[in-house]
Amino acid sequence: MRHLVSAADLSRDDALLILDTAEELAQLSGRAVKKLPTLRGRTVVNLFFEDSTRTKTSFEVAEKRLSADVINFAAKGSSVSKGESLKDTALTLQAMGADAVVIRHHASGAPARLAQSDWLHGSVINAGDGTHEHPTQALLDAFTMRRHLNPGLGNDLAGRRITIVGDVLHSRVARSNVLLLNTLGAEVTFVAPPTLLPIGIENWPCEVSYDLDATLAKTDALMMLRVQRERMNAAFFPTEREYSRRYGMHGGRLAKLPEHAIVMHPGPMVRGMEITAEVADSPRCTAVEQVANGVSIRMAVLYLLLGGATASDTNSTNTSEAAK
């Protein structure tokens, strides 16, 4: 595989290879020297057309831990703000010898366009495109779930029940998650007001419910989605208060979850509306852990795309390098 544009690009074996590799690489974070020479001499460009703090930082940390040369390219204040096209930006990066481009773009499909074009020869990694996909987020979510619900190398999420709550319509996290979780054997239920569910969702590999309370008892992992401020005044729901009552996560609902269940959030969280502080700060909330896991997952993706490793040699390479 050369690019990671969509969670649909990943077979079950691909996904498990990434999760297992991430598990190996995660050991690195506990060491005093958190660095491997794996991508030494390789150039990775973080091409961010949209503001992002946590995803960009996460990729940057992952790249640096693998010793890649990192170039951060932000659209603001760059030639892009002077009207340069995506094509010309890509041609420039190509001329500079980028081996991989991590792209975040406000337009759905921009990474796919980049990957399919002949503008760029390196790997394209989608770091979130419009309301389309965010595959590394889905991988880190799956990684987090596996650690809590079915730990162990080679394990998938077969039979685990995942409930995803909130603005599915505008969520790239939800789109990538439903694809990947399905590939890994989990059962996904979306919970949202009908206005925040995409047309055609009946064809997606998931269940749909408008009633959060009805789903809690049969949930192994509850994933809250961020509701963007601008949606609140766009007639998707009557008021913030009503949304919070019907779809917000609070202590009462936390108590209805099975004891082993976790509460997840891709961040940033809107406390008080979609999730109360009581839940966000509870030990069952994995939001902070997800951030740490994001680094391991992104290291694994970069390593596998740029290192060209196979399933069989990945573990041995990682193990031997991590032991150095």
Binding site: S85, L86, K87, H105, H106, A107, S108, G109, A110, A112, R113, L114, Q116, D129, G130, T131, H132, E133, R172, R175, P198, I199, G200, I201, N203, W204
Partner: protein, 434 residues
Amino acid sequence: MTSYLIRNAQILGGPAQDVLIADGVIQQIGADLVADAEVEIDATGLIALPGLVDLHTHLREPGREDAETVLTGTQAAAMGGYTAVHAMANTFPVADTAGVVEQVWRLGKESGYCDVQPVGAVTVGLEGKKLAELGAMHESAAGVRVFSDDGKCVDDAVIMRRALEYVKAFDGVVAQHAQEPRLTEGAQMNEGRVSGELGLGGWPAVAEEAIIARDVLLAAHVGSRLHVCHVSTAGSVEIIRWAKAKGWNVTAEVTPHHLLLTDELVRSYDPAYKVNPPLRTAEDVQALRKALADGTIDAVATDHAPHPAEDKDCEWAVAAMGMVGLETALSVVQQAMVDTGLLNWEAVADRMSHRPARIGRLTGQGRPVSVGEPANLVLFDPAYRGTVNPESFATRSRNTPYKGLDLPGRVHATFLRGRATVLAGALVEPGEPA
């Protein structure tokens, strides 16, 4: 003027015959004609269709000559078998005055490849607020009869009513781009399963259907002619069918691409497929084909929309909407309608020549291939099979979704009032001896 003797052309509804063209008129049709013509064409295996008439062409001049000019657009039209095109009003400046429509009309006359009939804007600047001087455009040398704010829906019901009423004074027609603006804010493709999966803003079918429903009622109320541009949904077809059953004066067109392509193609995020109205579902395509076949939809219109490379060679979200279509229209119609058994060639002539000419009130165009008629005709080879190569297009732009695709059929020759504009599949310069 050069005279032509066309040998063995398949005349619609009859056997292969010879056709003699001289002085701009079809002089004789018959078997083994003996005539002293300057040029003889072997048309064995070719169909003689009346010159095609397009109700919906964007020629871009004035204002966007980097995308197309009247000259290159009409050359493309001739290559596609067209002898008349209606040039849409969304130019820069907008064709909302007698001056601009006359300019376009004169450029068409100078080009010599195809009659250019300008479409006048319904409202000043296409802003939907104030009626343009519809009467002045009609009284100009261009003699405008079709009015449209195409690309922008006349969504104000009162303005639309007034336009429909006003054009009755000179037998005009309002051609509506049906798109309810609020329902299509941020829309980038058909709203449905694919848009949901791709995370692209949806353009719901109901946004088209709601406007068509309103407009047929308005047209019936004021007793005027309404033409619906580029119908794209099964629901729209049902509304038009209902309006026609009521006896109301409503006509409609469909584009070749809406007869062949579906929104599944958008999965590639290739902006060649970005068009307005968007590509719809396979069910919509089937409904449109059926409606064209049974006459509910009157005409095929290209919505030829040239864009320069930089407006398409980019990410989907910022790409311009539209595709070129003049040079591939007849081939696409053959593939979608003729080769599927839905239309015969007589019906193709009806939907691509006779009816569009009637809707636009063009005299001298859309006439049968008969003795005494103006020699506007196209010789088409339906047996030809070839790969679409945009580099060979006459249009100035290359934004086609058919690049590299095998499409049937090819225009062998086009005649505009007896002068060959295309011969042996190549353009003939005006004044050039054939």
